[in-house]
Symmetry: C2
Subunit: 206 residues, 2 copies
């Protein structure tokens, strides 16, 4: 079937198939849809992709996405609380916290977690940025908001150890039942965490 | 949530969302995945998209996809039967027939069907290419393999009328039960078509 496609289109579909969630059929559908666009639109869209590395860079302070080597939107925002620093693995996690809308501190995007099995011994992570942030003396609390899987917990433990050398409070997000959850549908690990971390009923929620 | 993305990335995601099967979340995932690629790879991929209009063109004989203004793979193939011409609406339909592997004639990609509701009165379709193919005098049979929905049937009827003026046989693919199908799972319209077009059991399949 593929043999009927021009080579250029085959190469485009191969590139599309490497994207998450795009299989062989979807790549074909997307490629044929692109062919329907007019030349100017395709040039614009292609240029957006080709110029990504220059236009979208990492914030020199927190490694969040930023524009053309500038600070990211969070670090630029003077109203953010510099005494709170939330450490996340990825930009997606940062976006999820931002979407929550309640956190007003700053971030540090680690760029992954320590995972010897995946060949990440930590040398590729942004520990240097973390130390630089702590070096400013403005940070009072570090919230370790990494994944709660094995590697995430190991990285959290490592960071907690490192952070002992700094005069900061170290915390992590509470584990427990999601907002509005019904106990009937919660998994065992979540129930265990929620029961272990149970709080007195007369304690005021803040 | 989106407000945290650099403008360049927002624009890229807007472009991705216009592709078939890619919603807001998928566009975000794809954009973040692209950011992980190295600069050279992104330049190559972006260029593939930007250069689509020059590199992938339409075959001047049948409107199938072709490379840089040349003939398409089917029209280039001297072994194809020039006496058979299969009219399809889209390149996808052509690919589906090719995937079948049994058809050895040539094609004519109409580029759509007559659909007054969608603003297509036929002026945007490749009727001129069809007449040019018929003008060669080599075509003996035209197979109208358009969709079997209302617009497809209307276009088929229109073409059949036009083709009366040419010394060619006009046919359409048989309707009936799909190969290997079980009557229990067939829909009513398919069963009706299969019964209406029933064939004598002693007739040899060719």
């Amino acid at each position: 079937m593929g043999s009927s496609f021009p080579a250029h289109l085959e190469e485009l579909m191969a590139g599309l198939r490497q994207l998450p969630g795009i299989g062989r059929r979807a790549a074909e559908r997307v490629a044929l849809a692109l062919l329907e666009r007019d030349a100017e639109e395709l040039r614009r869209f292609g240029t957006l992709i080709a110029e990504l590395p220059e236009k979208v860079t990492r914030c020199p302070e927190c490694a969040n996405l930023a524009e053309e080597n500038g600070l990211c939107a969070v670090c630029k925002d003077a109203s953010r609380d510099h005494s709170l620093l939330c450490v996340v693995e990825t930009v997606s996690q940062l976006l999820a916290v931002e979407a929550g809308g309640s956190y007003r501190g700053r971030y540090l995007v680690l760029g992954g977690r320590i995972s010897p099995l995946e060949g990440e011994d930590g040398s590729g992570l942004n520990f240097n940025l973390l130390e630089r942030q702590l070096g400013t003396g403005r940070v009072k609390e570090v919230i370790l908001a990494l994944s709660s899987d094995v590697e995430g917990r190991a990285t959290t433990a490592y960071l907690a150890e490192v952070l002992r050398n700094f005069p900061v409070k170290v915390s992590r997000p509470a584990s427990g039942l999601p907002a509005g959850a019904n106990l009937s549908y919660a998994d065992g690990a979540t129930i265990a965490a929620a029961f272990a971390g149970r709080i007195d009923v007369d304690k005021k929620d803040d």
